[in-house]
C-alpha cells in the first residue's frame, strides 16, 4: 500500500513526489506520458507579464503579492509568496544535487531576461547555469549556429537583439563539426556533443570566430548526458562566457531537467509507471480508495493509496479534454471544472491576444490546502489534492508562469499531504 499516488509525471508531479518521498512517504507516480518539459525552454518562468496589464514584471514575487490580492483564487494566491519562495529554494536544491544547478539574476528576486529562439527577451526567474550568461544587458553577444540546422537561426536572433539595443552579431559553423547524420534533431546534436572530441573541435572553431569582449551564445545542444563537462570544457577552452539559447523542441534543457528529476525519484525509491492512463476510480466514505489504469488486457490495473495527488496538467497535458459538442472534462477523475466559459467565449480573435483566451483559465478549483472542491467549496474527496497546470484561475502561458505554478503548487500540495499523513511529526524538507 502506497502512502501517496501521484497522477502525472510533469514538473508538479515529480517535485511533489520527491518532496513527499523525502518526508518519508511511500510514493508511486503513474502517468500517461511525459510532462511538458521537453517542449519548454528549460527555465523556471514564475511571472513574466502582469496578467491584467500585460506590462513586464521585474520582481515576480512582489508582483505576485499584488496579483494575489487582485485574484484570490489564483494558484499563487492559494500557495502564498512564502511557500512559493520556499518551493523555489527546494527546486534549486534538488536541481543542484542532480548536477544541473539553476540560479537567478545577480540581483536576487529579479527576473532574468534571456534571448529566445527569435531573439526576443524572455522573462525567467531561474535558469540553468548554461543559460545564465545570456542575460541581456552586458557584453556583446556572438550568436553562433550550425549551417543547415533547422531549429535555430542565429541571424534572426542577433537582428532582434540589435533591434532591442543590444550589441549582437551572428555566425554559423558547419554542421559537420558536430554530426554527419543527414537528419539530426536537437537531441542527436546534443548526444554528439557529449563526445569530448566533438566539443573540442567546436571550441576551436568558435575560438576562430571570437572577437575581444564578446560572449558566445550557442543553440541549447551542448551535451545531454555529459552536459556539465561539455559546457565547462568549452568555457575553459574559450576563456569567455558561453551560454545556450533554447531551440524548437525537442528541448535539450527540458530533457536534462526531466532526467535529473527522474534520477531523484529513482534514488528516493519512488515507483514510476508510464503509459498508465487513469480510466476509473474507486471511492468509499468520501475518500478515494483506488484509481484504475488501462492495460493491454481488458482488466484494468488498480492503484490503491492513502492519498492521491492529481497533477495531470491542463489542456496541454490532457488533464483536461474536450469534444466537438463543446463538452470539457477533467480526464482522470471527472472532477468538476471551474471558470469554464460558454462555448462562444472560449477564444479571443487574435492568437497572440495579450489578454489570453478565456478557456485556458478553466480547471480544477482547489481550497487553500490544494484539495479539489465542488461548486459549494467542499472537498470532493478527503484524501485528494491537485497541483500544476490542472488548476483553475490562471493562464500560465499568458502570465509566463508555467514552471512557477508547477513548482509552487506541487511542493505546497506535497507538504499538505505530508502534514495530513503525519500530523504528529514536524515536517521539514
Amino acid at each position: 500500500m502506497f502512502d501517496l499516488t501521484v497522477i502525472g509525471a510533469g514538473l508538479a508531479g515529480m517535485l511533489a513526489a520527491c518532496n513527499a518521498a523525502k518526508a518519508g512517504l511511500k510514493v508511486k507516480v503513474i502517468a500517461q506520458g511525459l510532462g511538458a518539459l521537453h517542449w519548454s525552454a528549460g527555465t523556471v518562468d514564475v511571472l513574466g507579464y502582469d496578467p491584467a496589464t500585460g506590462t513586464p514584471v521585474s520582481h515576480p514575487l512582489q508582483a505576485i503579492e499584488a496579483l494575489s490580492a487582485a485574484q484570490p483564487a489564483h494558484p499563487y494566491a492559494l500557495a502564498g509568496t512564502q511557500a512559493l519562495a520556499a518551493a523555489l529554494d527546494e527546486f534549486q536544491a534538488l536541481a543542484a544535487e542532480a548536477g544541473l544547478p539553476y540560479a537567478g539574476a545577480a540581483t536576487a528576486g529579479e527576473n532574468l531576461w534571456l534571448p529566445s529562439p527569435l531573439g526576443a527577451a524572455r522573462p525567467a526567474l531561474l535558469a540553468p547555469k548554461a543559460q545564465l550568461a545570456g542575460a541581456l544587458a552586458g557584453a556583446p553577444l556572438l550568436i553562433v549556429g550550425l549551417q543547415g540546422m533547422r531549429d535555430f537561426f542565429p541571424e534572426l536572433i542577433a537582428e532582434n537583439l540589435r533591434r532591442a539595443g543590444h550589441q549582437a552579431r551572428a555566425a554559423s559553423l558547419p554542421l559537420e563539426l558536430v554530426t554527419t547524420r543527414r537528419d539530426s534533431n536537437n537531441v542527436h546534436l546534443a548526444l554528439a556533443l557529449d563526445d569530448p572530441a566533438r566539443h573540442a573541435a567546436l571550441g576551436d572553431a568558435l575560438a576562430a570566430l571570437l572577437q575581444p569582449g564578446e560572449r558566445i551564445g550557442l543553440p541549447a545542444i551542448v551535451g545531454l548526458k555529459e552536459h556539465a563537462a561539455a559546457l565547462a570544457e568549452l568555457r575553459a577552452r574559450l576563456g569567455v562566457p558561453v551560454f545556450e539559447v533554447p531551440t524548437l523542441p525537442p528541448s535539450v534543457p527540458g530533457l536534462r531537467l526531466n532526467a535529473a528529476l527522474r534520477g531523484h525519484l529513482q534514488r528516493l525509491g519512488v515507483r514510476l509507471e508510464l503509459n498508465a492512463e487513469v480510466t476509473g476510480l474507486h471511492a468509499a466514505g468520501g475518500r478515494l480508495t483506488a484509481v484504475e489504469t488501462a492495460t493491454s488486457s481488458t482488466r484494468p490495473r488498480r492503484h490503491e493509496a492513502h492519498s492521491f495527488l492529481l497533477a495531470t496538467g491542463g489542456l496541454l497535458g490532457r488533464g483536461i479534454d474536450s469534444d466537438h459538442a463543446g463538452r470539457v472534462w477533467e480526464t482522470a477523475l471527472n472532477l468538476p471544472l471551474a471558470a469554464l466559459p460558454e462555448r462562444t467565449a472560449w477564444f479571443r480573435p487574435g492568437f497572440l491576444d495579450p489578454a489570453g483566451h478565456p478557456l485556458f483559465r478553466s480547471g480544477v478549483a482547489v481550497d487553500r490546502h490544494f484539495q479539489p472542491v465542488d461548486e459549494a467549496g467542499a472537498p470532493v474527496y478527503a484524501n485528494l489534492w491537485a497541483a500544476g497546470g490542472i488548476l483553475a484561475h490562471a493562464d500560465p502561458v499568458q502570465e509566463r508562469s508555467l514552471e512557477g505554478i508547477a513548482i509552487a503548487t506541487g511542493i505546497a500540495a506535497a507538504r499538505e499531504i505530508v502534514a495530513t499523513r503525519r500530523p504528529d511529526e514536524e515536517v521539514t524538507s
Partner: protein, 561 residues
Amino acid sequence: MNHIQADILVIGGGATGLGIAWDAALRGLRVVLVEKHDLATGTTGRFHGLLHSGGRYAVKDPQSAVECIAENRILRRTHSHCIEDTGGFFVVTPEDEGEYPDAFRAACAKAGIPCDEIPVAEALRREPRLNPRISRVFEVPDGGADSFLAAHATAQAATQAGARILVYHEVLRLLVEAGGSGTRVTGARVRDVARGEELEVHAALTVNAAGAWAGRVAATAGLEVNVIPGKGIMLATSQRIVHTVINRCRMPGDGDIIVPAHTVAVVGTTDRHVSDPDELTIEPWEVSLLMAEGAKLVPSLDRARIVRAWAGVRPLYQQRQCDATRDATRAFALLDHASCDDLPGLLTIIGGKWTTFRLMAEKVVDRACEQLGVTKPCRTAETPVPGAEQGRYWLGHRLHEVEEQALQGQLVCECELVTRAMLEHAALANPTHSLDDLRRDLRLGMGPCQGAFCTYRAVGMLHEMAMRASAAPGDGGAWDVATMSSPAQTPRPAAGAAPAAMRQGANPLLRGFLEERWRGLWPILWGAQLRQERLNQVLYQCLMNADHLPDDGQGGAGCSI
C-alpha cells in the same frame, strides 16, 4: 504614373480569370491580369477541391452535368499533375430513401457520365470507414483537384504565352472614357498594394472575372451586377478518412460530400447567403452541422481530428431584365455591358464551378475575339500546362522522393514534407509576399500541427536568404511552378536574391502567419487539435516570446534593459 497597354485586361486571379488570360494569350492577344491578393485567394482556393464528374448535377441541372464530364476529361489531360484520380461514390444512406437513386443513375446515363452500381460490400472493402448501413453505391469518375497548383500552372502557361500577371494589384476603378465612338470602358486604374503606387492599364476590352467581388468592380463604373455571395464552410480532417470522393446520393445539400485532398479529407459544405463576400465568419452551429451530416457518410468523423475550417463564397448571380445576352448555358453568366448597359468595352463573367473554368474562359475569349476581330480558335483543351508532363498526382510522391533522396534533414514542414529547397525556390520563383502565399505554393503549415514548427523555420530561412542576398527584396519572380511540388527535383537557388516576402520583415511575417492560421483554427478547436494549439501557444509565447518582439510597440521587455 505608369501606363500599360493591352488588348485584354482581366480582373481577378482565380481559376476563371487565369483561364481567360491563358486562352487569350494562346490566341495571340496581349493580356494583363490583375489580382488584388495572391492567386487563388478567393473562391478558387476556398472550395472542397472536387473535380466534378457531373454526378452532383445530373438530376438537378443536366446541362451542367454534361459540361462537367466533358471538362473533367479535358482537365485530366491539360492539368494532369493537379488532378488525383480518386474516383467517386454516390452512396444511399438510410435517410436517402425514395426514387432519387434510380433517377440519378438514369440522369448520369443521359448526361454521358460513367456510373456503375457496385456491391455495398465492395464499396466497404475499398472504403472501410463508410457507414455500413448504406444500401446502394454508384461509382463515378469524380476526382480531387489541387486548385492552388492548377492556378499557378495556368498562370505559368499564360505567362509563357505572353500574358502579364500582376498579383497584389487592386482595381481602384474602371476607366470610362468618352471618345469618337461613344463612351466605353478603356481599362482600369490599379494600385500596386505592395509598393503603394498606382498605375493605369489601358485595354481594348476589360473582363471582369472577380467572382463574388464582380459586383464591386462593376460598381466602380456605376454599373449594377447583382452578385449574392453564398458562403459555404468546409472542414479538413487530420488524415484521409477516405480515399474516394464520397457523395450522398440525394439532391445536393449541406454536409453531403467528403473529398480526399493530399494528406487530408475535406468535409463540405454549407450554403448561406451573406451580404459581404469578405464575411467569412464560421459559426459553431455550421461546424456542428457538418460534423453531424458528414458522420452519416463516415461515422468515425465524430472522433476525427479536425485541423482546419474555412469558408468560401460562391458567386450567385441574380438576373436582371436586360440579360438577353446571357450565354447559352445556365451554369454561368456572361454579361456584355455593351448590350446590357450601353457601355462597350467590358464583359463580366460570373458563376460556374472550378471544374468548368476552362470552358467559361473559352466562352469569354470567344466573345472577346468576336469584338476584337480575332479569328483564332481556342486551343486550351489540347494544350497541357507546364507540369502536366509530371503525370497524375499521387499522394505518396513527396514521401517517396524524401525517402529516396534521404531529405529528412531538409524538411521545413514535416506534416506536408516541404524541404528547404522547395521553400527557397518558391520564395524567389513566385511573387510571394507572405508565408500564406508560400502555403498556397507548397502546402506549408497545412498539416496537423498548423504551423507549430514550420512558421519559425520558414521565417528563419527566409531571413537567412535576405541576409545572404546582395540586394534588397524585390517583387519576386514570375510564375515558375512546374516542379514546385517535388522535394527531389527542386533546386536550391543560389544566394543572391532576397525573397519578396522579407520586405515586411521577419517579425511581421511570423506573426502574420500565426494569426492567419488561428483564423481557421478557433472554430474547430476541441480535443487533440485544441491540445495542439495550446502547444503552439507554449512554443510561440513561452519559448519564443513572439508577442514581445522588440519592434512591435508592445513594451517589448528587452527595451527596458
